[in-house]
Symmetry: C2
Subunit: 193 residues, 2 copies
């Protein structure tokens, strides 16, 4: 239990056994079945979650009622809606399990307490957010500067395991495309090689 959580933590910020045990007090395990929600729009995001097992998606519903996937997450990734988590205001996003999931939750109060009492946790969080920021920036740069074909290639290269486990129409949604267009990109790529 919590294996992946502490593996990821130690990767960035090595912990003693005592420190691990101290943190464990604050962690809450949670299981979600496929299609269950960790967060629904309108609710406050009360926890950030590390995925021990399974996969999830975050999505947004636009004014026209269309869904747009904004993030995928696999084992070892941390998810949550940061604006809602920070502000304790209702979220506009949804987070749903794509497969049966085992999660480790850190509630807002636990998070605040750990930030206050444990410098290593503060460092860990800073590194986590820094990485998230850089990944998001890379995504934004790709979105702006690459052709569709190259964006799809970049996605496959960066996240080969997502491409395998997630239906294509969701990848299209993540890329901001219609499923038909992604299908055509793929057939274009197959023909030209």
């Amino acid at each position: 239990m919590y294996e992946v959580f502490f593996q990821k933590f130690n990767q960035r910020t090595p912990l003693t056994e005592d420190e691990e045990n101290f943190i464990k007090q604050y962690l809450i395990p949670k299981k979600l079945r496929k299609r269950q929600y960790l967060l629904q729009e309108g609710d406050v995001c009360k926890s950030i979650a590390l995925i021990e097992k399974g996969s999830m998606r975050t999505y947004l519903v636009d004014p026209a009622g269309q869904e747009h996937i904004t993030a995928f997450a696999l084992e070892g990734w941390t998810i949550g809606d940061l604006p809602s988590f920070q502000s304790e205001l209702p979220s506009i996003q949804n987070i749903e399990a794509l497969e049966d999931c085992e999660l480790v939750l850190v509630s807002k109060s636990a998070h605040d307490e750990l930030l206050k009492t444990m410098p290593k946790y503060e460092i860990y969080i800073r590194l986590l957010i820094t990485d998230a920021y850089m990944a998001l920036q890379k995504r934004t740069l790709n979105m702006i500067s690459l052709s569709l074909d190259d964006r799809y290639k970049a996605f496959i290269d960066t996240y080969p395991n997502i491409a395998q486990r997630v239906p294509q129409h969701m990848i299209a949604s993540y890329m901001g495309l219609s499923p038909e267009t992604l299908s055509r990109i793929r057939s274009r790529m197959n023909n030209s090689k």
Copy 2:
């Protein structure tokens, strides 16, 4: 000198006078004339910069040779290329002064030293990156889910001062549009009200 820097710092993490003086040792003032560069692609981003006065842009040149503006920054904002700053590897972005600028630089070594010795600096950086992440996420969500007209309105609402100080073709570039398309959006908006 450093007024804006400490105003922003104190806003998030109040400092005593001694603490301010401690940090001041690490700060380097720098002036840039319009069109001068803080960072050019291929170089390592050696400092993060707070803008005391002036405005800047960050841009990327794509494989086809086209420029894409990825960020604007005004007084009180902090800029730099995080992936390059963190990794000390060459950057793929350029940061250029749009007006004459007065900057406050924190070098990588100063940054690392401050992180190590001063918990309040660590907190400040975490909050800074958290805000940057949330702003970038909001931009990404808008990009994916809104119509062009609404995206432009959202930009104007969020950054009215940028819209005033920056040429429209740069805003078009930031939004990933041709200048002509942005011009037509604007005339559409004027006609319908």
